[in-house]
Each structure stands twice: as structure tokens, then as C-alpha cells.
């Protein structure tokens, strides 16, 4: 069966230990976590986790069913089986001597990214987009020397035209 990337949204009780319950489940059942984001949801007391994982259809079915067995899990949706919007944010601290700055700023502009900090020899670039866009940005900045890279992992939701 084909292994594909899936983005799963998990609505959970905002209880202490709930992240450990979910991540522990992935670990012990041998499910892969590519990224995981957690934050408040539209409802007080509930958090939404967005997990990017890979697996075939059977694995995805097991992930969903095993997640539902956790008492603190309210709802599991495989977002990627629907038209969805997925976005990730990255902060990239890149070497930027005065001579190379115009080139870097050119890249930043092309990607509709932003410079959020300028130091004597480096700048911090903030980029928002789908994970492919961030991968591309990182590759383009790599030749200048990336000192530090911090990515949030993807968060996502189904487009408004659905449901």
C-alpha cells in the first residue's frame, strides 16, 4: 500500500499531560510524527493539535482509531483527505555581511517573507507558507550561511467551501 503524507487535526481536552498522551501513543505504536503543533482552539478548554505524519491507509486508520481511544481526544480529522490550507512559519538567522544584504533582501521580497531583525553580521528572516515554500527558502538562503533555523511545523484547516 502507498505511503503518503497526511495532516491530522486532533481536538483534545486542554489537560496536563495530553501532549504526552498523544505523542506517546505515536511513539509506542510506531507511527511517525513529522511535525506537531499545539495551541488553543475555538472552544475554551480544548486545544487543537495538528500532526503531520506518513503512512499507508491502514496506518492512518489505526492512528485515528487509537487516538480516539484516548479519553482526552474529542475529534480526529484527516485534513489532507479534504481541500485544506496548511501553513508553517520559520525564523531563519542568516549571515548577512553588508555586501550580501541586497541579494538576501531580494530573495526575501520574492518570497513575500519579512526581515524581523537586523544585526551587525546577520539578519532574521520570517517566512510563512506551506512547508515546500519554506524548504525552498531555506535552500536559497543556505549559501549565505544559516546560523539558526526554527520552524513551527504546519498548522492547517479545511477550506471554507467544504462543509
Amino acid at each position: 500500500m502507498m505511503t503518503t503524507k497526511h495532516t491530522v487535526s486532533v481536538l483534545v481536552n486542554n489537560q496536563p499531560g495530553v501532549l504526552q498522551r498523544v505523542s506517546g501513543l505515536f511513539g509506542r505504536r510506531g507511527f511517525n510524527i513529522e511535525s506537531i503543533t499545539v495551541g488553543e482552539s475555538e472552544e475554551l478548554g480544548l486545544s487543537r493539535m495538528v500532526i503531520v505524519t506518513t503512512g499507508d491507509d491502514n496506518t492512518l486508520e489505526q492512528i485515528s482509531k487509537q487516538l480516539y481511544k484516548l479519553i482526552d481526544v474529542i475529534k480526529v480529522i484527516d485534513l489532507s483527505s479534504n481541500p485544506m490550507v496548511a501553513r508553517e512559519l520559520a525564523l531563519i538567522k542568516v549571515n548577512a555581511e553588508p555586501a550580501s544584504r541586497p541579494e538576501i533582501l531580494g530573495i526575501v521580497e520574492t518570497f513575500r517573507a519579512a526581515v524581523v531583525d537586523i544585526g551587525p553580521n546577520s539578519i532574521i528572516v520570517q517566512v510563512v507558507g506551506d512547508s515546500d515554500k519554506i524548504d525552498a527558502m531555506v535552500e536559497l538562503l543556505r549559501p549565505y550561511g544559516i546560523r539558526e533555523l526554527s520552524r513551527t511545523g504546519a498548522t492547517a484547516m479545511i477550506r471554507g467551501s467544504v462543509r
Partner: protein
């Protein structure tokens, strides 16, 4: 028994007292809440972090507390109580080492879906995370082996948490729930408001089946020529033995019961084939391998049942799976007809419409196999064989006793040669395979069934993993008949080393074991020993005639193996039948 098993006051009187809105400590709230849940007996061991709880139990007599001699004994006893009664088993231990000593028992219960509420103390909330004396993150440690767990941070939450814990433990797919109570929470006072409702948004097990799926199953049955039922522990846990019997009689499908399912269907029935899998019968395994329709009922296609999945049931056209846990469907084998729901509810609905399969020829074939390939052992030279001992126990108790087993060869012989009749009459660690389980679980089973005969069958290895609990049998006069099948080695390991590791016997010799008769006597328990068949008959009768606890050691030869046997990695067609033919 010296332990009082009747309630000390009327239920109404008790309930009225319990519901009073008194200002009481968390510990008193715990005890009152346990009583409101109907708890009759808890197993436990005190320590620093549960001192307030034990202080509240001082002079308390509305339920029994049995002081085991190790926390592991307490939780296995609670497990035996739960399996043999269907009620929630309860145990209490202190923080740190007390709590970690429960871990094996929690995993045992989790693997076999046994409803337990496990109460641990913890250091006071202000000390949590400071590596305080006897601190352990027990909710973290047990997260993978509990159905759910709570760390109580506020005494106000305690009534709700306890009520939820009992509900979660004993509904849906059952399992252990842990409640970790920091010391200050057990000391803090509040007005007790008993919790009556359960409202857990993320927990709503499916009980009633999708009727369309069950109809599909019934249609598949009518078309099937070689159907087989694999019935597991879910039948027993759902109290569905009667429904299963009706279903089998109506559909005329040969049935095999797994280790945990053994008591869910009477072994004398004409359609019963015995146990499947690694040490299953020729008849059961052969039937599965030739079946065109497999119906799993409350069983989870465990690897000890299926063995190598490539080659499991190669001729099957359809697999149906009835299970209360949707995650079991399709987990190990492809399923064509999923029936999620409580086994009792599914079968009750199915029985309203069930029609027989076209199984006449198939039944005849199965019955011929059962006739031609019965379970056998070599009884030629007159030695006292372990299988003989089990047969003797089965015959003398007419299959009516509650039998607990430890893990290993004797467990498989008990499964093969004890003729179980009644639901909840086998108590055995199937999923985790926990040595040391057999004896303490019998104590719990006896506490839950004071009027029944409880027999604990152990090996000489496992008996030494929890033998200390002889003390509580002695002091409370708990009349468990403790059988030790002593072959002087770790028999199942020896068997694998003989057959798979080319007779390279590595660290299996149990020389240095105590004289079990003297060990029993040292605790004040009667000890008996038999080395021949004649002695066996005599001392076993003496044990049955003795009102209190008895330890009976049967000394048997070292080299006996469990057959049939399917080696790890082989399919269930590849049975080694042994030299008994």
C-alpha cells in the same frame, strides 16, 4: 474465611450516611466514594504518601482491606477479583516504589482488558517535580499501560474523578485506570458532594452494533460451508456466554475458544474444538486453516492465536470481527465484515435472525478430527505426569472450580486439560504472560467468590515470584488450594531450548527452590506433596477436604513438553504433535 464478606450494615443505611454533606478530608472522600461505587474489598499496602488514607481506614469496616506482602500481590489479587466477578478490582499503594511495584500488574490488566481502579499516593503537590523522597511520576510511567489516568490536583475534583474512573474502567473495552493522589490532596478538607452523573465528552463507547453489518454477517453465515468462530475474552467480559451458546446452536458453527475465552463456552459442547494457536488443538487449528468464513467474537487475532500471519487462514473468503474496540478491527488481519459493539448486544441482535450455515459436512469433518487427534500425553511408564494432575483436578472438581494459573507449561496444560464450564472460571495472564500472577490472583478470586472452590495452578518458577502472599491466606484463612506443578526447571523455556535452540539448556535449572511443603508450613498453611499417581489422588482429596488454604506440590518429570506446538514464525498448519501419538 476470617474475612467478613457480608456488608456490615444495610445498603440504605450506608447510602444515607455516605451522602451526608460533611466537611471531610480527601481520604474520607475516597473511602466514601469507593463505597458508593459498591466496592467490597480492596488490596493494598501502606506507606508515607498514603498515610492519611490509611488513617481514614483506621477502625473502618464497611469494606475489607487485605494487606498483601508486596504491592504486586495486591494488584494481581485485585485483578483476580475483577476477572472472576466482573466487578472493578481496587488496589492501593504508596508513592514511588509502592507505585512502581504495581506496574507489572497494571500492564497485565491492560493487556487482558481487566477493569481495575488503581490508587496511588504521591508526594504533596508542592513537592512534585523536585525529586522528593519516594517521588515517581507514576501517571507518566503508566500512560502506555492504562486506559486512562488522573493526577488529582484539587480535593474538590476527587468525587468526580473517582466516579469517572470506575465508569471508564468497566465500560467499553475494559481496563485499568490509575488515580494518583498527592498527600496534601488526601489531607485537605472539603464538603463532600457525591458525584452521580458521568459526562465525559471524549468517551462514548459504541455498544449497539450497526445492524446492517450484522445482517451482512448473518448472510455470510448462511452461505458459508466451512465457518469457524474464534471466541475470546470479550465474550466473558461482556457476560455474553448465553448469547454465544444460542448463536452457536442456531448457526451450527464449530467454535474454538482462545485462552481468555476458554470459560465463555462450555468445553463439553459438540461443536467445541478446543483452544487455537501455538498450543491449540489439531482440530481447532486445522479448522481455521480450512475455513471459508472466520468469525472472531471478542478476540483480537493475537499473535499466539494466529502465529505467522502470512499463511493464517489461507482459504478464508470472509473474515468477520465482532469487537467493542473499533481499533482492533483490521489491526492485525484484513476484515470484511466489521461489527463494532458490545458482544452481548451484537449477539443478542444476531440471534433474532440467525439461520444455520451449510456446515453439516464440515461439522462431521471437525468431529472426526476431534476423535482422531485428541489432546494426548505419554502416560505409558506410570510416572506422575503434569497433564495427569490437571485431568485429576478437572475430574474431581467436575470443571466447576475457579482456576487461576501462572504462566508457562502448566498454564497451557491447564488450558488444554481442565474442562471449563462456567464463565469467569479461568483467571490467567494471557496477553502479558506475567509470572507470579497465578497465586495472588487466586486470593482475589476467592475474596470475590467466598462460596466457590478456587484453585491456583502454578509452576515451581512462578510460585516463587509471589509466594509471600501465603501469609495473607494463612492469617485470613482464605481457602485457596495452591497447586504447584514442580518439574524443577523453567519448563516452557526448557521446551523452547530443547526444540528450537538445539538442546542448549541455558539458566533454567531451579535447583535451590525451597521445600514447598515446609514453606507452606512456615506460613502456617497446610502443605502436601505427591510424587506418584497414587499419592496424587490421595493428597489432592485431602486438600479438597481441608477447609482452609492448602499448598499441594506435585513432583513431575523434567522433560515433559506441551504439544501440539507451533514454533514461532511457523503457521498454525505446522504443528509439532510430540511423541504422544
Amino acid at each position: 474465611m476470617n474475612v467478613q464478606t457480608e456488608p456490615r450494615r444495610s445498603k440504605e443505611e450506608l447510602m444515607e450516611k455516605l451522602q451526608q454533606p460533611d466537611l471531610i478530608t480527601g481520604s474520607e472522600i475516597l473511602l466514601r466514594s469507593l463505597l458508593l461505587e459498591g466496592v467490597e474489598c480492596v488490596f493494598g499496602y501502606p506507606g508515607g504518601a498514603v498515610l492519611y488514607i490509611y488513617d481514614a481506614m483506621h477502625g473502618f469496616s464497611d469494606f475489607n482491606h487485605l494487606l498483601t506482602r508486596h504491592e504486586q500481590g495486591a494488584i494481581h489479587a485485585a485483578d483476580g477479583y475483577a476477572r472472576s466477578t466482573g466487578k472493578v478490582g481496587v488496589c492501593i499503594a504508596t508513592s514511588g516504589p509502592g507505585a512502581t511495584n504495581l506496574v507489572t500488574g497494571i500492564a497485565t490488566a491492560y493487556m487482558d482488558s481487566v477493569p481495575l481502579v488503581v490508587i496511588t499516593g504521591n508526594v504533596a503537590t508542592s513537592f512534585i517535580g523536585t525529586d522528593a523522597f519516594q517521588e515517581a511520576d507514576i501517571t507518566g510511567i503508566t500512560m502506555p499501560i492504562t486506559k486512562h489516568s488522573y493526577l488529582v490536583r484539587d480535593v474538590e475534583d476527587l468525587p468526580r474523578i473517582i466516579h469517572e474512573a470506575f465508569h471508564i474502567a468497566n465500560t467499553g473495552r475494559k481496563g485499568p485506570v490509575l488515580i494518583d493522589i498527592p498527600k496534601d490532596v488526601s489531607a485537605n478538607k472539603t464538603i463532600f458532594k457525591p458525584e452521580k452523573e458521568v459526562n465525559i465528552r471524549g468517551y462514548n463507547p459504541t455498544v449497539q452494533p450497526n445492524k446492517l453489518q450484522v445482517d451482512k454477517l448473518l448472510k455470510a453465515i448462511e452461505e458459508a460451508e466451512r465457518p469457524v468462530i474464534i471466541a475470546g475474552g470479550g465474550v466473558v467480559y461482556a457476560d455474553a456466554a448465553e448469547e454465544l451458546m444460542e448463536f452457536v446452536n442456531k448457526t451450527q458453527i464449530p467454535i474454538t475458544t482462545t485462552l481468555l475465552g476458554l470459560s465463555g463456552f462450555p468445553s463439553g459442547h459438540e461443536l467445541w474444538m478446543g483452544m487455537p494457536g501455538m498450543h491449540g488443538t489439531y482440530t481447532a487449528n486445522t479448522a481455521i486453516q480450512n475455513a471459508d468464513l472466520l468469525i472472531s467474537i471478542g478476540s483480537r487475532f493475537d499473535d499466539r492465536v494466529t502465529m505467522n500471519l502470512n499463511g493464517f487462514a489461507p482459504k478464508v473468503k470472509k473474515i468477520a470481527h465482532i469487537d467493542v474496540d473499533p481499533a482492533e478491527i483490521g489491526k492485525n488481519v484484513r476484515t470484511d465484515i466489521p461489527c463494532v459493539g458490545d458482544v452481548k448486544a451484537v449477539l443478542a441482535y444476531a440471534n433474532t435472525k440467525a439461520k444455520p450455515a451449510k456446515s453439516e459436512a464440515w461439522i462431521a469433518e471437525m468431529q472426526a478430527n476431534r476423535e482422531n487427534f485428541p489432546l494426548k500425553y505419554n502416560d505409558a511408564n506410570g510416572e506422575l505426569k503434569p497433564q495427569y494432575v490437571i485431568e485429576m483436578i478437572s475430574e474431581t472438581t467436575k470443571g466447576e472450580a475457579i482456576v487461576t494459573t501462572d504462566v508457562g507449561q502448566h498454564q497451557m496444560w491447564a488450558a488444554q486439560f481442565y474442562k471449563f464450564k462456567n464463565p469467569r472460571s479461568i483467571v490467567t495472564s494471557g496477553g502479558l504472560g506475567t509470572m507470579g500472577f497465578g497465586f495472588p490472583s487466586a486470593i482475589g478470586a476467592q475474596m470475590g467468590n467466598p462460596d466457590k472452590l478456587v484453585i491456583s495452578i502454578n509452576g515451581d518458577g512462578g510460585m516463587q515470584m509471589c509466594a509471600q502472599e501465603l501469609a495473607i491466606c494463612a492469617i485470613n484463612n482464605i481457602p485457596v488450594k495452591v497447586v504447584i506443578i514442580n518439574n524443577q526447571v523453567l519448563g516452557m523455556v526448557r521446551q523452547w531450548q530443547e526444540i528450537i535452540y538445539d538442546n542448549r539448556y541455558s539458566h533454567i535449572d531451579l535447583a535451590g527452590s525451597p521445600d514447598f511443603v515446609k514453606l507452606a508450613e512456615a506460613y502456617g498453611v497446610k502443605g502436601l506433596r505427591a510424587k506418584t499417581k497414587e499419592e496424587a489422588q490421595r493428597v489432592w482429596q485431602e486438600a479438597l477436604d481441608t477447609p482452609g488454604p492448602v499448598v499441594v506440590e506435585f513432583v513431575v518429570p523434567k522433560g515433559e513438553n506441551v504439544f501440539p506446538m507451533v514454533k514461532a514464525g511457523d503457521t498454525i498448519s505446522d504443528m509439532l504433535m510430540g511423541d504422544s501419538e
